[in-house]
Amino acid sequence: MVVGVIFIPIGIAALLASRSVVEIIDEYQTACIPSNYTSNDQRVQYIQDFTTDKICTRLLTVPKYMKKPIFVYYQLENYYQNHRRYVKSRSDKQLLYGEGASLADTETCKPKQLLDDQPIIPCGLIAWSLFNDTYSFTISGNAVPVNKKGISWKSDRYHKFGNVYPENFPNNLPNNENGSLIGGSSLDLNVPLNEQEDLIVWMRTAALPTFRKLYGRIEQDLKAHTQLTAQINNNYNTYSFRGKKKLVLSTTSWLGGKNDFLGVAYITVGTVSIFLGLAFFIVQWKYPRPLGDISYLSWNQKPATS
């Protein structure tokens, strides 16, 4: 009962918070491939073709008034960022210290540890597979700026990534040189890692195969029914594993994003406990069993069976 009384308000608060969040989700991985590429193999071929320009334009309608800041996320599905070998394939030491021995400390980064016998910085599969779709937005021809500062956790920026400059990064090579595969985005060799926030966000690996990562913030309110044009550079290959790509625009509440789960769970637990409390109450009222009545002891109730 008590649990119910406490939980239901909390749940309602959480639910309200979650409901106040406005979200626009646009799944674009199929739409952003020309319609003549029908089969999945063809799509993979398309995405791996570096020669073509893969810009695609999506029209988004703002359903409700969206208060700034509006967060821009990309959501990947069926993407196992939590796979054991993937998770391991990084060197936190290298990312933070970058100097001397730890620079070459790429043991854990297999299979992306060395390029031409030189250590890769940042090494490992995670960094190599950095997401490289880009988004830009316009409202009736006016550009809507996307702020890409401060999208990563401070602790990551300050404590996990150091003033280390990328080197030997395979994605920076000209396409297909040495037959090495381009995993994802290239890195700006003149910017230290702790300022490359896209990488920092990407490298906080997700717990589930469906995950969102913060891309940037739109620092202006969007009125309802505004037509927002999103220009997407569709580079990232999720086609070979049939992963979905979604563009998400979302506001936040005090609690966070749109997530009914907590609210619903609280309300459910609360309701169930109130219900059970009542049930017990009724049972006690209808079939009272005097407490501590020793005539209810098993050996007082039935003849002792030996």
Binding site: D92, T108, G256, L297
Partner: protein, 802 residues
Amino acid sequence: MEFFKCSIGGVIYGKGVTEIEKAAARRNGTGIEEMESPAESHEKYFNFDDDRLMRGAWRNEPNPELCKEFFRCLAVCHTVLPEGDELPEKIVYQAASPDEAALVTAAKMFGFFFFRRTPTSIRVRESHVEKIGRMQDVEYEILNVLEFNSTRKRQSVICRYPNGRLVLYCKGADSVIYERLMERHNPFKDTNRDHLEYFGAAGLRTLCLAYRDLDINAYEMWNEKFVQAKSALRDREKKLDEVAELIEKDLILIGSTAIEDKLQEGVPVCIETLAKGGIKIWVLTGDKLETAINIAYACSLMNNGMKQFIINSDTKEIRDVEDRGDALETAQVIERYVAERLNESLRQAVESEQTQTGLELALVIDGRCLMYALDPELRGTLLKLSVMCKAVVCCRVSPLQKAQVTSMIKDGAKKITLSIGDGANDVSMIQAAHIGVGISGLEGMQAVMASDFAIAQFRFLTDLLLVHGRLSYLRISKVVAYFFYKNLMFTLTQFWFNLYTGFSGQRFYDDWFQSLYNVVFTALPVIIVGIFDKDVSITNSRKYPQLYKAGIENIFFRWRILIIWAISAVYQSVILFFFPIKAIEEGKNSSGRMLGLWDAGTMAFTCVVVTVNLRLFLACNFITRWHLISIFGSILAWFIFAFFYSGFRNPLDKQGNIYQVIFVIMGTWYFWYAIVLVPVASLALDFLHEGMRRWFAPYDYHIIQEEEKIKGVERDELLLVESPRQAPEQSLELTGLHGEMSKHTGYSFDSPCFDSFFASQEGVSMSQRSYDIARRASMRVSRRQSSDLGSDSPPPGHNSLI
């Protein structure tokens, strides 16, 4: 063995009340007023208080002469050797049996202090004989000793007073003495018989005392025959017996003694309590059949309402066959007899089980029959029968048989057995049983050395089982189940996670979390529960021995319980994995940032630690501050560890996965939401189950707990401080109650030659116990001399002469 009561000249002396009388009174519902036991100077072997006899007061009794004879008989007619200083306080009597020592001690206490024995005489310091307060040393010349043996059941001494009076003193079983009494001049014969019956019923061991004045001429004539018989080369024993018959007649009854073979204090109550607790009790004893049955009665193990199956080798047919002397034939006859009786008994037992409800059965079997009944062919029948019986008494069993019976129950009936005994002959049995308990007492330390538990008195067994045993069962089952649960739950969350990692085996929790989970974060509380948990108070544990049945039926550790724990573990693991992960899946905090794998893992782990620790609150029966300290301490330990672990970067760790994580997640609302919601949601099922259990199908201890809550708990007092380790018991062997009482009058004498009884069965001949007083007396003298010379030969115990 204590001198407890006596009857002299038709008057009963002695005020004590025996345990058995108390038990009987309790059974009948008539309480006996608790009488103060004689507190003054409690002498070993002597528990008697009656002002009419003590300190010379007997002179004022109706029969002072008879009293005098009574005391003299006690002081003279025995085979005891005095040792040590010849002072009443210091002297030690070396007797062949404690009974004898008790009788001589009694004489001493009455003022007839036997203090010296030479090969031909006995010296007694008599007080109050001529006059109150006057002491004199009297030397009785011992002319002949007619020794005890199990056929004669009596012992006589012919002695000459300093004044030349020639007397035969005789003591023995009532049956043999009564046969030999003079027709006339025995006015107390009938009253004495009543007294004997009364003593017997009270569980006392009785002896009749008688004397006969001898005429010097008749004696001389008889003595010649006696000397002849004594020097006979063939059948000496038989001839001696025959000669003794000639003189042990026309006796005049003096009275009877009653010795309490102290069943240890509280034994009947203890056994009754244990029986109520669902423990089945077997008595395995070396005593005679009648004695064993009497003990069983005394212990409330058997009563007259029971149907008894007695399988006894001492029947007429068997004796007849034995007399023919053909060992093989005897064996066959006994075997056939045992088989018949067993099958017949089993048939009747099954029948009565079907027809009459509530009729309790008892089986009494003696060692010789048991030897055949333990044959592989009959063993099954015996087992079936004995399992059906409420009480099983095996008498005259050898130490080996005790062990055999124990292992038969252990292996055959698949029950848990506990053996308790105090003597060296119980050692094999103690070792054969699952649990061996030794009583440290008069009979030496062998039993204790062989045992798993040693207690000082039989009655402490109640506490050992009902309090310590039951509690430790409770605790162990709880701890084991809890361990099972907490690891299953923890591992399952990991398993659920792997469904989402492409089955790659990625860890959900950090290595260190995982390794310290069992070692630190959830270790202490369960140990505390294992040490302190207690369902009902100790007083109530004793008050409701039936609670013990829970252990026998294994209520707290059967599959059902484990499955319930497992279901709870599965349910909780689902909640504990999915709730945190759902909570942060699409979540971001108000700054819009996303949480990652290690954030989820750490959050889930926090919930796991909190839940698992709080779960103990539901499992334990009462909460002390140690519970609180350990449970909240463990949760706190986790947080402290998490702060340290994510606060400092370990330079040796190549992957600082958890670095800073806890601070990040604690900065989100999700974390706080989850940490309240998840434990509550996951414990809800257990809470519900526990509540339903208590309400609709309460365990017995639940009800008693409620009673305690309402009425308050009496202060617990612990009798024993024992290591509380014990497993559940099903049947209990019991022995060590070496008492001898016969059914009606309680005849007793020196312990029968038990060893030779078995020796003769196995074909080993063993000389009867020697009562060659002269030899022993001279031995004593020689020892004294040798000790004067400074040699340090150890004094032989009385057993050395057996």
